[in-house]
Point group: C2
Chain length 173, copies 2
Amino acid sequence: MELQNLIRDVPNFPKKGIVFKDITTLLKDPVGLSGATEELYNFAKEKKITKVAGIESRGFIFGSLLAHQLKAGFIPIRKPGKLPADKISESYSLEYGTDSIEIHKDAIVEGDRVLLHDDLLATGGTMEAACKLVEKLGGKVIQISFLIELIFLNGREKLKQYDIRSIIQYNSE
Amino acid sequence: MELQNLIRDVPNFPKKGIVFKDITTLLKDPVGLSGATEELYNFAKEKKITKVAGIESRGFIFGSLLAHQLKAGFIPIRKPGKLPADKISESYSLEYGTDSIEIHKDAIVEGDRVLLHDDLLATGGTMEAACKLVEKLGGKVIQISFLIELIFLNGREKLKQYDIRSIIQYNSE
């Protein structure tokens, strides 16, 4: 099955002129859910991953599935103010202004082999910040994976020192 | 292994006087992650579940794991403004004021057998609203499950018409 056929285009979301790639139509299909999980798992299965970090909130979905399949721990990387214990923070640029993400200090131990996952690679700013968080805690970023990659936004350039994987690619809007 | 030992108490979060039950210490432990998944799966495995709905955002973690294990589809129930396509909304009461959650109209089809999952049962207001969303779309709520149940807040009373399951219970703060 072509997983790309399970992604729905929603025009003008979140604002006029943007075509949003909606993954909920893939998630609700058991064949899509298991097929995408298997493809993402196959990228990482030989990598001796010890932790999988998922970025809030859609990154939690396949992030936790990957952690379970890889017999690794799952680490949530969250929006500000959500994590309750000692944490570090990293900022990244948005189209207008900045945002930040956080990770618990005890989420990663020195030498952890980390897979980072998010649903969508656009400009790569969020994932770049997530990688910095993991590295600040002494983790090694072994792979970063995405369900969808928007090639035309060239997020790969910002993350070029990493092993970047994606299942579904779009060359243009 | 006693899964409860993997939950961390964080005092005074999100505000003074509250003891927050932090699940990240369970999630980062591969034995905790797989042990909790298996217990939640065992509650539902004979129930012919066709869709698992997880409530944003911590409910996405075991929600997607359960969907995958049960060979069901996964449905995200989200905070306002996050879902891109046609949706319905349901409000619920907070300590001060109200909040709401949303589901895509095409997430559930008439006759779907639905398991709803969230990480924590407190007063039950969010889950009650989530059940209403599923039922409005013609789904049958077969089970609702939680990682943690705060017995002393009596959320079970509000949800008593449902099959409620939880792995870890606290009788007092």
